[in-house]
């Protein structure tokens, strides 16, 4: 996943002095992630687990070379914090914060597209990690990940982590584990992740983890069908979700031509993507392609 992050990436934590920011900074540092600075307005001058804190992103960049920022700021401030990062020149953002207002997510997406340089995953993503190199976010999987050639791209939080563990338990290493974020508007859509992974030399097999609602799986299938060269395995959560019942803030009940589990399975299968029926089938299918 050299295009977005690698072990040399220098990382900023926006919202580093908050409860979650503080806790995860510690875990990320333990994994070896090179967190060089944090930002919390009004807390400039403090240090968190040895990391210097600044008042503004711009100030942190005057003292450090930084390419990546992770966001742990409170939901109503995320849009502002991301714009701050974009203007200061940050290139990649991992927006962990959840509960971000929809129209703010729309603006973040637009600001990123307008900038033509800034890319991001999330909001409401568990993060992204490359075994033995770098972990950004709240995935526990770094603790169980091993280096390898299977990429996991997932719409779900805990499920991302779970599937990484399932693979590791079966001795299958990962090239990258990546949560796209559970909200309707995310920075990197499934199809964009697949496009990147197609170009990533470390990745041999791609695992796509989807769920009911939205159209990201259908979109990704279109691309795979026309341009895919690497084997793709998929898993879909929510096969048994009853219609008209809501399965959580990440999920959506969808009726119509697309968005249903059926339409997603049809799309994946039409693109030659094998769909695992259960969690524990995933490693079986992946293994066939290695």
């Amino acid at each position: 996943m050299g295009m977005l992050i690698d072990s040399r990436s220098k990382v900023l934590v926006q919202g580093i002095t908050g409860r979650l920011g503080k806790k995860q900074t510690k875990l990320m540092l333990e994994y070896g992630t090179d967190i060089v600075a944090g930002v919390t307005p009004g807390k400039g001058g403090e240090t968190i687990h040895g990391v210097p804190v600044y008042d503004t992103v711009q100030e942190s960049l005057e003292h450090h070379d930084i390419e990546i920022s992770t966001f742990y700021v409170p939901a109503p401030s995320v849009e502002d914090a991301v714009n701050e990062a974009i203007e200061a020149g940050i290139e990649f953002g991992v927006i962990i914060s959840d509960w971000v207002p929809y129209q703010d997510e729309m603006k973040i997406k637009r600001a990123a597209l307008n900038s033509e340089k800034f890319r991001y995953i999330g909001p409401n993503t568990p993060g992204i990690a490359i075994p033995d190199e770098i972990a950004l976010g709240m995935l526990s999987s770094p603790s169980v990940m091993t280096d390898g050639n299977v990429a996991i791209v997932s719409r779900s939080g805990t499920l991302t982590d779970e599937i990484a563990e399932e693979l590791t338990e079966r001795g299958i290493g990962q090239s990258v584990v990546m949560g796209l974020g559970g909200d309707p508007i995310v920075g990197t859509r499934m199809v964009e992740a697949v496009e990147m992974l197609e170009k990533d030399d470390e990745t041999e097999v791609i695992v796509l983890v989807g769920e009911i609602g939205g159209t990201m799986e259908e979109e990704a299938s279109e691309f795979i069908k026309e341009n895919g060269t690497k084997p793709v395995v998929s898993f879909l959560a929510g096969r048994s979700a009853p219609k008209q019942k809501q399965m959580g803030h990440a999920g959506a009940i969808v009726r119509g031509v697309k968005g249903t589990i059926k339409s997603k399975i049809r799309a994946f299968e039409g693109a030659g993507v094998e769909v695992a029926e259960t969690l524990w089938e995933i490693p079986d299918i992946v293994e066939k392609h290695l």
Binding site: G248, G256, W280
Partner: protein
Amino acid sequence: MEKNIFHVITLHKNFINELVIQFWSDMRLLEFEGKDIFQEFEINVPERILIEQRKDLDEAVEKIGFPMVLKAQVPLGGRGKAGGIKIVERESEAEKAVKELLDNEIKGHPVNYLLAEEKLDINREMYCGIVGDDKNGSPEIIISSEGGINIEEIAEKSPEKIKRKRVDPYKGLKPYQCRNLAKELGLEKDGFKAFSEVLFKLYNVFEGCDAKLSEINPLVETNDGKFLATDSKIIMDDHSLFSHPKFEKKKDRHIEDELEREGSEKGVNYVDLDGNIVVMANGAGLAMALMDLINKIGYSPAAFLDTGGGLSEKRMEDSLNLLFKKAHRDEGVKAILATIRFMISPPDAMVKGLKNALQKKNVDVPLILIVRGRKRYVDSAKDLLRDTDIEIYTDIEQGVKAIKEHISER
């Protein structure tokens, strides 16, 4: 009269539009609430009176007279076909209709309110809606010179009748852009002006309500040239309800099941179902995957509970209490399957909450716990739970399959 929103996406390079209808989990305002907002934003709406009980009809008769349209207030489409709209010509008919509508459900939804409205002389029906384009990070304006109940069909069969425009959310929609759009529909004279003004105001509704969607379908032109929104659809965004406290309180009003309501109050996502295995996890995707596994092994989920992230002592306790209540209420429940993945928080809080709940457990249904995630947390959790008699697995397959044994034992 009501119809689902449509969200047109272009997947194929040959520009075949496919129709996707999405119901997000956010609150859809009732028609009368949306119309009150429309009025605030100076969009014309018909004369109307809200009816909660029989006696409110008198005011409606006085203010509106006959013919009168009575519309069941339910947060879903297709109510017309389901008998939720009645046109009445005289008082006796109105009384009968009010009674019938308030007594019955529409597609499973109880009807707590009716909206009584004047019947309009309709010249034509149009459509205008603002919806987020998730891929482009923009509000998208969708308008049509034809609207009403057939809007989806129009979108499918005559896409040329529908005009769309994306707007930079930082710049907003300007009145002249509304006029250019209205022109694209071929509107003229007063209709041109009225339509473009309504569209501008509807965008203000979208922005002002932090909505996910604001829609008028149909936007009616009467025979005497007036433009009125005869229906309203506003879908609020749960994440921004904090800035709309008036609606925050109403969020849970459609929850009928008392356990579901309790779940909502406690901040966990509980969905009541009809099967025999209760499923819980700290994450919606994981919980859904577990449900699928339950189905796969021949059982069916009796409930779905997603605790959400950052599992605290209280949340864990509340969640289990809820599931025990479910097992108590519903004899069909044979087992509870809970999976907790430890990602960033140590297990202490979760274990405390679990033990608190176990002390009050008053149902004889086995609790099967699967713990996964960060190794040192998983080990610590097992250690801390050694003094309880619940079954603990660290492998999902084993945990799920254990259910079979439990049930066959009983």
